[in-house]
Symmetry: C2
Subunit: 171 residues, 2 copies
């Protein structure tokens, strides 16, 4: 795991001063590290009957779609407003300053389906908490929320369903 | 192939009046159709020594990252301005009205690397032509530009390197 952690690049002052951004693109573009990351996460869910993997726009699509492929599950996209062409459910949630909205197609999840939610990074957990609400309101069963990496000091897992959070790498 | 084509949904008047949008999310969220689509495209490149698969924001990430995983290649992201945290090369290109800009990390592609570019849909080909320019200016060798589907009547392939375009489904 240290090897995978070390390949993630720190970008100081992005997107604003004082924040050290974890740049996962260095991991994604390294073929063996990328494959290993997906395999290590997917391994946890083999035999768990995942119906759909939900990826959150946009970096979550990278993780989510590879996991969906590997687990032979459907790939579902949660997107910013106005991007999904069919009828949607939406959820607005608070950010540090202002708010944000996410959308999901109304037919993307059927009641009782077993859902894995995927994103690249767990920070404050606000976005993922909104996604979990959306999925549960549609009757989807959250198997787990999985992340390539987690910023432990932000304690984002506290905003997500207890015992249903997995992060491969911890910072 | 007809089976895969039929699962793609037509959305009339999206994103604007008079356009019939091809909604691929119905294919992505169907586990078997999604896996079959990725397998059919990937099959073409097995043994072709693909170093990196470049996906174009945002739906291209879905196809590109699953292909990268399957082909054991690196996954590279081409994004809208301001989204990539490290130093970038950028390319501005004309749209029907106005223009758009795409960015790629400067270290994402090394000279001589063999590149597969992936997106969901080939329409006019303007975006993909800009991506091809970016990659070639970095010294990357385009093996092919691949798409889940192509709108044949728009003749987008004419704007891309001759003989280096593959679309799984044709409309």
């Amino acid at each position: 795991m240290e090897e995978l952690k070390n390949i993630i690049r720190d970008i100081p002052d992005f997107p604003k001063k004082g924040i050290i951004f974890k740049d996962i693109t260095t991991l994604l573009q390294d073929a063996r590290s990328y494959q290993r990351t997906i395999d290590l996460i997917a391994h946890r869910y083999i035999g768990k009957r995942i119906d759909k993997v939900v990826g959150v726009e946009a970096r979550g699509f990278v993780i989510g779609s590879a996991l969906a492929y590997k687990l032979c599950a459907g790939a579902v996209l949660v997107r910013k407003p106005g991007k999904l062409p069919y009828e949607t459910f939406s959820k607005t949630y608070d950010l540090e300053y202002g708010s944000d909205t996410l959308e999901i197609h109304k037919d993307a999840i059927k009641p009782g389906e077993r859902i894995l939610v995927a994103d690249d990074l767990l920070a404050t957990g606000g976005t993922m908490a909104a996604v979990v609400d959306l999925i549960q309101s549609m009757g989807g069963e959250i198997v787990e929320c999985c992340f390539m990496a987690e910023l432990d000091f932000l304690e984002g897992h506290k905003r997500l369903p207890e015992g249903k959070v997995f992060s491969l790498l911890h910072f």
